[in-house]
Symmetry: D2
C-alpha cells in the first residue's frame, strides 16, 4: 500500500473588484468577486515542496485586476472565459482552470429628477453567478443566481403524503411558500448572448414560481426548471436548490383569536431543502462543467 495524491486544485479565492467605465460624463460600474481554481501537474509541490509549476495565487489575483483593465469586464461569462483560457493556454502545467464569479447588482440613483451620472445604490442581495471551466480543448459555462428570495402567500398546498408513527404534520390546502433560490444552469453552447439569456432565465424562474399552483415545493422546482429550459434553448440542464423557509400559522386560539392564514411565524431552522435537476433528454454530456 502506498499513500498517493488524488484530485487537487488550488487558486486565489474572492478577489473582489469594482470596475468603472465612462462614456462621457456617465459612469457604469461592475462589482464582481472572482475565484480561481487550477488543476494540473502539481504533484511535486504536494510531495516535495517543489513549486516550479505553481502559479502563485498572488499572480492570479494580479491577473484578475490586469484583465479587468485591459478590456471592459463585459458579461461575467465572457470575463470568466478570458481568464480561464489564459491560465490553461499560458501555463503548460495547468490542465484545467475553473473561474467562479459572483456579480453584485447596482442601480443608478435618481437625484434631482434624473439619473445621476456616477452615483449608485446596491440593488437586492441577489447575486448573479458563473462558473467557467476550461481545458486545453474545451470550455463549459454554468451560469446562475443565488439569494433570490421569493414568497407566495397562498397558492400552495401540501397533502397526500405517507404517514408513519413519527408523522404529526397536518395536511394543508393553503400555506405560505417561501424560498431563497439557488439556480445554476449549464449551457450546451460555448457562445451565447449571456446577458439576455441570464435575464430571461431569471424571469422564467420567477414567473414560474408565481404562476404555478403548488402541490409540493418539488413541483414548483420542476416547473421553474422547465420554464427556464423553455425560455432559452441553449440551456442543457438546470440545478435548483430551494430551501423551504417555513412560515408557520401561529396558534392564536389561546387568546380567543382566529388565525385565518394571517399571522405567520417565520422560522429559521430547521428548514426543508429541496434539490433537483431539470434537463433535456438530449442534453450533451456535462463533461467537467460542474
Amino acid at each position: 500500500m502506498t499513500i498517493v495524491l488524488g484530485d487537487n486544485q488550488y487558486g486565489k479565492a474572492e478577489t473582489h473588484l469594482v470596475r468603472v467605465t465612462r462614456v462621457g460624463e456617465t459612469h457604469d460600474i461592475k462589482d464582481i468577486n472572482v475565484s480561481i481554481a487550477l488543476a494540473g501537474d502539481f504533484d511535486a509541490s504536494h510531495v516535495e515542496g517543489d513549486n516550479s509549476n505553481v502559479v502563485p495565487t498572488d499572480t492570479q489575483k494580479n491577473t484578475v485586476f490586469a484583465y479587468a483593465k485591459e478590456a471592459p469586464v463585459g458579461e461575467i461569462e465572457d470575463f470568466g472565459l478570458r481568464l480561464a483560457r489564459h491560465f490553461v493556454d499560458d501555463f503548460v502545467a495547468v490542465r484545467r482552470a475553473r473561474v467562479t464569479i459572483e456579480e453584485y447588482p447596482w442601480a443608478r440613483i435618481n437625484a434631482a429628477g434624473q439619473p445621476h451620472p456616477h452615483a449608485f445604490m446596491r440593488g437586492s442581495s441577489e447575486k448573479r453567478l458563473v462558473t467557467v471551466t476550461c481545458t486545453g480543448d474545451d470550455a463549459w459555462v454554468v451560469s446562475g443566481l443565488s439569494d433570490l428570495v421569493l414568497l407566495k402567500s397562498t397558492g400552495s398546498e401540501f397533502w397526500g403524503y405517507p404517514r408513519d408513527r413519527y408523522t404529526t404534520l397536518e395536511e394543508t390546502r393553503d400555506r405560505v411558500l417561501a424560498t431563497a433560490v439557488v439556480a445554476r444552469w449549464r449551457y450546451a453552447l460555448p457562445k451565447v448572448d449571456w446577458g439576455a439569456a441570464f435575464a430571461q432565465t431569471r424571469s422564467a424562474l420567477i414567473e414560474a414560481f408565481a404562476l404555478k399552483h403548488s402541490l409540493a415545493l418539488q413541483q414548483t422546482l420542476f416547473a421553474m426548471g422547465e420554464a427556464a429550459l423553455k425560455a432559452r434553448p441553449e440551456i442543457a440542464e438546470i440545478r435548483l436548490a430551494l430551501p423551504n423557509k417555513h412560515h408557520f400559522v401561529v396558534d392564536l386560539s389561546p387568546f380567543g383569536l382566529e388565525n385565518d392564514s394571517e399571522v405567520f411565524y417565520a422560522a429559521d431552522r430547521p428548514y426543508g431543502l429541496i434539490e433537483g435537476t431539470v434537463m433535456r433528454d438530449d442534453a450533451p454530456e456535462p463533461g467537467l462543467a460542474w
Copy 2:
C-alpha cells in the same frame, strides 16, 4: 460598600413575523422582526429570584403575534407604539417599554405581464427601522434605516489633512466613495405621517449622497443629515453611521498598465467609520428616545 443592581431591562428579541392582509384576491405582506425591552420594578427577580413582576418574554412574543392579528400592523411606528403602550399601561411594574422593529422590503412579482396578486420577491437587503419608547406619560419615536449601500465613482476628494510621522496616505482629488448607511432620526412629534416621512427622509439621504460633491465623508454625512432635516420638519435630530468602504485604485504599473481610476480593489477591513449627529438648534430634549 454594598453591591447593588443598576440599570436593567429585559424582553423578547427577534420575534420574526409575516402578516398577510387580503383585499379581495390581492394579498399584501408585512415582514417584521420585533424586539421588546422592558424596564421597571424588577429588582426582586434579580436579587431574590422572585418573578412576580416579570412578564415572561414568552408572553411578550405571544402579544406581538396577537396584536398583529387584532388589527393590521400598519406602519411599524404605529405598531411599535401600540405594543409599547400596552406593556406600560397594563403592567404596573413596567415603567418603560422599548420596542424595536426591523422591516424587510418585498416587491410584488410581475408575472404574465401583470402584478401577481400573491407572489412577492424580497427587495433589497435594506431594512426600515423603528425604536419606540413609552413611559406612563410619554412616548418617543426614532425611525431609521440600515444596510442602504451607496457608491459614487467620482465626485469625492480627500486632501488637506495633517501629516505626522505615521502618515503615508496620498492626497486625492478623485476617489470612489462607498458606504452602508445606518441612519436613525428622532421625531419631535408623537404623531407623524410615518410612511411619507420615511420615504422622504430616505430619498433626501440618497439624493444628498449623490449630489453633494464630497471633500470628506464627514461633509457628506452632514449634507445627508441636513437634507433629511429639511425634508421633514418633524425630525429633531438624525444620527448617521457611515463606514467608509474603501475602494483602492489597484497599482497596475508593474504590468505596464495605467489605471486611471478604472480598476478598484474593494477592501473589507479595516475601514473608516464616520459617525455624527445633525440636529436643529431648537430641538426638544431627547428624553428617553435613544
Copy 3:
C-alpha cells in the same frame, strides 16, 4: 432655527493584526483587532470639507501597526491606553480618543509530546475586549469578554410570574439555561494588573453561572455581576447582556415516548435578552467610560 452638527466621532475600525514575539526559539503571538474613534474639533470637515484637523484613518491604521512594533503589545488594556493617549496628546484637535480592541485566543499546539515553539491553534470563539477612553486629563478602562457560551442542563427554574390573557407559558422547576455572555466591566482605577483581573473576573462569571441555582436568568445575571465585583475590588461596575438561548423540551408524546428533560430543541429566534448592571454603591462616576 438652524441646523447644526451634534456629537460626532470618526476613526479606523478593525485593524486586524498579529504580533509575533520571540524568546529564543519560542514564539508567542497576539491576535488583536483594533478600532479607533476620535472626537474633537472636526466641525470644519463636516460643514466645509476642511480637513486640516482630520487625522486620516489611514494614519490611524499605520499608527496601530507601528505601535505594535515599537514595543510588545502587552495586555490589550495597556496597548489601548498607549494608542488613545497618543491621539489625544499629539493632535490638539483630538479631545477624546476611544480605542476598542478585541483579542482572539490561541493555544500552543502540542506535537511530538511537547509544546511546539511556533505552532498554534485558535482556542474558543470567545473574545477578550477592552474599550479605553482618554481625554487630555483623564482615562477610563472598560474591559470585557463576549461569545462566552454557557449552558446548565438543570439547576434552573422559572415560575411565579404574572399571567395575562396572552400568557401560555407553563411554569417549570427544571429547565436548560443557556446563554452567550457579553460582559463589560469598568475599572475604578487607571492602573490594574490587567491580565490577572481579566482572568479572575472571567472565572468568577463562569463559576457563578454554574453554582447559582437559578430562579430567573435575571437572578443569575446579578449573581454573576456580584461575583465579579467580589473577585476584583478595582471593578466599579459590570454590565451584562445575557441572551436566553432557549432549549425547548420536545414533545415526544405523539410517538409514545416520554421526554424527561432529555431531548431539547435548540431554538435560534426569538430569544430572551436580559441586560443589567451590577455596581458598588460607592462607585466613582463613569465619566466618559462608556
Copy 4:
C-alpha cells in the same frame, strides 16, 4: 426533445438538538445539528404534485428527536447510521438516505475546585462532522471536522514558483502560515471505533501541520493527509480544503522601523484556497460516499 427530471433529493436540514444524559448526579450533553437528504422515487411529486411517496420533512425532524430519545445519541457516526438506515429500510420509495451531522464541542465547567455535574462551556468553534450515506445494501461513512484554525509563525517558505508578466510576489524563506482546516475522510469499513478514530485523525492533522517544515501549503496538505492515513488504517482517503489565511508583513520602513516578521496584517480577502485528496492506492471505490 423532452424535459425530464434528473438527480434530486430532499429532506429536513439543520434540526438542532441537545441531548442530556444523566448518570446519577452527573449530566452529559450532546449538541448536534442534523440534516437529512433522501433520494428515490419522487418523480410524481415533481411532475404531478403527487406526494404519496414524500416522507414529510417535518416527519424527518420528528424522527431525529424521537431517535435521540429512544437510545443515547452516541457517536455521531452511529447516530447517522441509525437514522439513514431507518429511512432506507422503512420507506420503499427511499433508495438513498444521506445524513449529515455537525457536533459542537462543550467542556465541563470547573467550579469551586471541581468539575461541575451539570454546567458546561462551549469549547472552540471547531465542529466535528459526519456524512453517512445508506442504500438498501450498503453504507458509507465520511467523518470530518471544520473550523480548526491553525497558525505557524515560522517554519514556512514559498519560493521557486514560475514568474510571468503579472507576477509581483517576492519569494520568502520565512512567512506566517495560517489556515482553517476543513477535512473529510472516508472510512473503508462500515464499523470503526469512531471516537478513537476521530481523535487520532484530528491529532495527526494538527501535529503534521505543526511539525512539517512547509515549502508550500500544498506540501503541508499532503503531509497532513498522509499523517491521517497513517494514524488510522480504516481511512481510505481524506479530502482537505485549506484556505491560505494571508498574514502580510507590514511595511514599517516609512516610519523608520524595521519589521523582522513581527507585525502582520491579517487579511480577509482574497485568500488562497488549496484543496486536495490524499488516499491509499488500494482504497476501495468511493461508491456513493461523497
